[in-house]
C-alpha cells in the first residue's frame, strides 16, 4: 500500500501513521452523555470506502485525510486535513525599511 502525499508524492505505507476514522464529528458541547458515548466508542466500520486520517509521520508530518477501500486497500483520495495558510514570501530583511 502506498499513499499519495500532497507534499511528497507517492510514498510507502511505512512512512505513515494511522489515526482512525475521519467521518466522526464532535457532538455539540450541550449534547447528552449518550451522544458523547457514541462518539467515543461507536464506529461505522464500513466494508468499502472509508474516510480516515493519517499522518505522514516519517516524512513531512502533515495530517492527511484519505479515502480508502477497506476491501482492496486502494487509496482513492489523499488531501491535507486543512489547507495551508497563505505563505508570505517577503524576505525578512525588507521588513523594517518601509
Amino acid at each position: 500500500m502506498r499513499i499519495n502525499c500532497p507534499h511528497c508524492g507517492l510514498r510507502d505505507l511505512a512512512e505513515f501513521t494511522y489515526q482512525g476514522d475521519a467521518s466522526r464529528a464532535l457532538p455539540e458541547l450541550s449534547a447528552q452523555t449518550g451522544s458523547w458515548n457514541a462518539h467515543v466508542y461507536d464506529r461505522e466500520n464500513p466494508a468499502g470506502l472509508h474516510r480516515e486520517h493519517w499522518q505522514h509521520s516519517g516524512g513531512c508530518r502533515a495530517h492527511l485525510r484519505i479515502e480508502r477501500d477497506t476491501l482492496s486497500h486502494a487509496v482513492s483520495e489523499a488531501v491535507m486535513v486543512r489547507p495551508s495558510p497563505p505563505v508570505k514570501n517577503q524576505p525578512i530583511r525588507s521588513r523594517g525599511r518601509k
Binding site: M1, D21, Y41, N45, T70, H73
Partner: protein, 453 residues
Amino acid sequence: MKPGNKRQTRRNSHFTPFVPALLSGTTGIRAAREMKEYSALKVLTNTLTGNRGWKPAWRKAEPKPSYDVIIIGGGGHGLATAYYLAANHGITNVAVLEKGYLGSGNIGRNTTIVRSNYLLPQNIRFYEYSMKLWESLSHELNYNVMFSQRGILNLAHSPAQLDDYIRRGNAMRLSGADGKVLYPDEIARFVPGLDLGGSQRFPVVGGLLQPRAGTARHDAVAWGYARGADRHGVDIIENCEVTGFLRDGGRVTGVQTSRGEIRAAKTAVAVAGSTSRVLKLAGIDRLPIESHVLQAFVSESIKPFVDTVVTFGGGHLYMSQSDKGGLVFGSDLDGYNSYAQRGNLPVIHDLMSELLALFPGLDRIRLLRSWGGVMDMSMDGSPIITIGPLDGMYLNCGWCYGGFKATPASGWCFAWTIAKDEPHAINAPFGLDRFYRGMLIDEKGQGPTPRLH
C-alpha cells in the same frame, strides 16, 4: 447504539455457581457413549474393508423453514455454541449458517495458541474456564484436537517489564491459573537457540511462563465441534450467506439467506471479523468495533527447534513450532481498518527483525506461507457475548485477536446465554452496555484505539 440492556445490568451482580462440564460427569460420559465413532477397532475393521465404513463428520444439511435457534457463522465460536446448546441444554433444533465452507474464517487462520495469562479478574476467570474446557476437549468430543500444553513464555526485557509480568503472574495464581517466573539461566535451558542478549538491544532479564498454556490443531477444533453438533441433530448449512433479517415489529424472527428464508425464535450472531457488515443488515449502523487485518506466517519445516510458545516483549512477536516442523509466528495488527484478509510489508519487516533479534540462528530459514485474517477489534480489547442488541437476537463478537483460545468458553457461555435468556456469571461482564456504563475491561489500558489492543 442506545445505552443500557436493563435485563443484563440487573443480573451482573449475582453470581451463579457453576461446575465445569466434565466435572459434572453427565456431559462427558454421555458424549463418549454416543460418539464412539473413532476407535482402534474401527480403524482396524475399516482398514480390512476398504475404508467404506466411515460416515462424513457432518451431513450436508438442507435448510428447513424454521428452527428454535439459528446461529449465523460456522466458525469455531458458532460451532461450539451449537454443540453446547445441544449437549448442555438439550436444544437440538438448531441451524448453523456459514456463508463459505465450514471453518474458512479465523478458526483456520490463527496461530493456534491457547493461554489464560491475563491480568484483569473478568478476563482470567473467562479464559481460565476456557483452559479447563480445553483440557478435556478431545475427550468431550471424542475427536483429537491435539491440544498440547507446551507452555507459553513471555520474555521481559527490562526490570520494570519483569515487575509487570510478576504482578500479572500473581494475579493469575490468585485466580486459579498457573504461572511461574523464569530467570535468564532457566530460560537458556528452557529455550535453547534464544539469544539472551536480544542482539544486545533487548536483553532478556526474565520471563513469565504459563506451563498449562500451549497450542491446539485449529481445524480439528472446528471439525470436532461440527461433528459433535451434527450427531446431536444440528443442521450445519454451508454456502448459505445471510442477506437480511426478518423482523416482526422490533423483534428479529429469522433471516433471509442466499438459500431462502429461515425463521427462528432466537437468532444468534457469531461472525467476528464481519460483525459490522452483518449487523448493518439488521439496521444497526454503528458498533464499538473496527475491523483490522492481522497477518500470520509459517516457515519451511525444520527439525525440532522450540518446544514451547515464545513471545517477545520488546515489540510484539509470538512463535511456536507446529507438529509438521514449520515455525508458526505472528505480530501486531497492520493497524488500519481492513476487510481484505491480506496485509502489507511494513509489519512483515518489523516481525522478521524481531524474530532474528531473538533467534539469530533462524536467519537462513525461508518463509513458506503468510496470510491475513480480519479481526473484530473492540474498543476495550475484550469480547462481547450478550443478549441483544435487538429482541430475539444474541451477539458474540469483538474477539480482537484472541478468539481461538476462547472458542470453548465462548461457545459454552453463548449457549448458556441463548438457552436461559440471561448471561452466565462468567460472561456477564462482557455485555455491549459496558461501553455506556463505564465498565470497560481494558487489559492493556489503551482506551478506545482499537489498533493498539
